[in-house]
C-alpha cells in the first residue's frame, strides 16, 4: 500500500483486462455452433478465475536468478541457513498474495457484480479446486525454478523466460480454453504439464470435472510435482558441481 496510485491503477488495469477478454468472447461465442461446450456466462467465469490463477502463480525466477548470478549475490544466498528454493518461493508467494488481495480480488468482485460469475459446483468440488490451485501454483513455481536454474549455464534469462512464456501461453489453456484447440494440439498438450497449471483447475471450478475427474486431475498434478522435484534435485546437484560466481 506504499504507492496508492499504483494500487488503484492495478485495479483499473485488471478490470480493463477482464473487460477486453469478456468482450472478445462475447463477440466470438454467438457465432459458434449450437453444440457449444460453454455458454457466454461460463466464459465470464473462466476469464475471471483464469486471471486470478495467473496472478497467483506468476513468477520472476529466471530474471531473479540472472540478477543474483551476474551481481554475485548468489554466493550469499547459497550460504544462508535456508534453502534458496524455499526462500524464492516464499518471496514470490508473498508478493503474489498482496497483488491478489489488494488488486485482483477487488477487481474480481466488481467484475462478478457487473458481468456475473456462475458458481455451479458444491463444497466438495470447491475444496478440491482449492487443493488443485495450490498444486498448480507449486507446479508453475517448479517449472519456472528449473528454467531459472538454466541461467547458471546460459547467463541470460531473457530467452529462457520468453520461450517458456510462449509454451505456457499455448499449452496452459488459460487464455484460450483447450476445448477450442484442434485435436492434435490437445494430444500434444496431454504429454506436457502446462494444462495442469490453469485449465484443469478451472475445469473443476466450473463443474466440468466430476469428483472422480477432479481427483484424477489432482493426482496428475502431484505426479508431475514429484517428477519435477526429482529433476530439480538433479539440476541443482549439477549446478553445485559447476557453479561459477562472478561479481560480488
Amino acid at each position: 500500500m506504499m504507492y496508492r496510485s499504483e494500487f488503484f491503477l492495478n485495479i483499473i488495469g485488471t478490470l480493463l483486462f477482464i473487460y477486453v477478454q469478456i468482450s472478445i468472447w462475447r463477440a466470438l461465442l454467438p457465432s459458434y455452433a449450437t453444440d457449444a461446450i460453454v455458454g457466454s456466462g461460463q466464459m465470464v467465469t473462466f476469464v475471471i478465475v483464469s486471471y486470478l490463477l495467473r496472478q497467483a502463480s506468476r513468477t520472476y525466477f529466471t530474471r531473479a536468478f540472472e540478477t543474483k548470478i551476474n551481481h554475485g549475490d548468489i554466493s550469499i544466498d547459497l550460504i544462508r541457513p535456508i534453502s534458496l528454493k524455499f526462500m524464492m518461493f516464499a518471496e514470490q508467494l508473498s508478493e503474489n498474495l498482496s497483488m491478489i488481495l489488494f488488486a485482483c480480488i477487488p477487481a474480481a468482485i466488481i467484475s462478478g457484480f457487473v458481468w456475473g460469475i456462475e458458481l455451479v459446483v458444491g463444497i466438495p468440488n470447491l475444496l478440491l479446486f482449492g487443493l488443485s490451485v495450490l498444486l498448480a501454483i507449486t507446479l508453475q513455481f517448479y517449472i519456472e525454478y528449473i528454467a531459472g536454474m538454466c541461467v547458471f549455464w546460459t547467463r541470460d534469462s531473457v530467452y529462457t523466460s520468453q520461450a517458456l512464456g510462449g509454451l505456457i501461453l499455448i499449452f496452459s489453456g488459460s487464455t484460450v480454453p483447450l476445448w477450442f484447440y484442434p485435436d492434435w494440439l490437445n494430444i500434444v498438450g496431454l504429454f506436457l504439464p502446462f494444462r495442469l497449471m490453469a485449465f484443469e483447475p478451472i475445469r473443476i471450478f466450473m463443474g466440468h470435472a466430476d469428483l472422480s475427474g477432479a481427483i484424477e486431475i489432482i493426482a496428475h498434478q502431484a505426479l508431475w510435482i514429484v517428477g519435477l522435484y526429482v529433476l530439480e534435485r538433479l539440476v541443482w546437484r549439477e549446478i553445485q558441481n559447476n557453479v561459477f560466481i562472478q561479481g560480488g
Binding site: 457465432s31 529462457t160 523466460s161 501461453l169 499455448i170
Partner: protein, 135 residues
C-alpha cells in the same frame, strides 16, 4: 579525436543528433558483442510472440471470425500491432524505466554527465532485440 568528442557535448540540434547516433552505435555494438547469445535471445522472442500469433490462429480457425473481422484481417492487425509496438519500444523502453530510477534514487546519476540528459537516457538502453519482433 578530442575535438570530435568535445564537439558532441556542445549545444545545438545538429550536435544532439550526432550525439544520439554516437550513443546508439555504442549501445547496439554492446548488445551485439556476443552474436550467438543475440541469436538465441531472438529465438526466444520470436517463440514468445509467435505463441500469441498461434493462439489467435487457433481461436479464429475454430470460430471463423470476430464480429465482422475475418481471420486474416485479425492476424494482420496483430502483426501490425506487434510491429508498431516494437518500433516504439526500440526507442521508448528506456524512458519507461524512469519511474524505477526515481524511486531508487538513480536519476541523479544521469544529471552528472556533461551532455544532453534526454539523449543519454534514450540511447543507454536502446533495445536492439526489438528488431527481432519486426520479423
Amino acid at each position: 579525436m578530442r575535438y570530435r568528442i568535445m564537439s558532441l557535448f556542445r549545444g545545438g540540434n545538429m550536435d544532439a543528433i550526432k550525439l544520439f547516433f554516437a550513443f546508439t552505435k555504442v549501445s547496439f555494438l554492446t548488445q551485439l558483442e556476443y552474436p550467438a547469445r543475440y541469436l538465441v535471445r531472438a529465438f526466444g522472442k520470436i517463440l514468445s510472440f509467435g505463441g500469441g500469433f498461434a493462439l489467435l490462429a487457433i481461436m479464429l480457425t475454430r470460430f471463423g471470425a470476430i464480429g465482422t473481422w475475418s481471420m486474416y484481417e485479425v492476424l494482420l492487425l496483430y502483426s501490425v500491432n506487434i510491429l508498431c509496438y516494437s518500433i516504439g519500444a526500440t526507442f521508448a523502453m528506456p524512458v519507461c524505466n524512469l519511474s524505477v530510477r526515481v524511486r531508487n534514487g538513480l536519476i541523479d546519476v544521469i544529471g552528472q554527465y556533461n551532455c544532453q540528459q534526454f539523449i543519454l537516457i534514450a540511447t543507454q538502453y536502446l533495445s536492439v532485440l526489438q528488431f527481432n519482433k519486426y520479423i
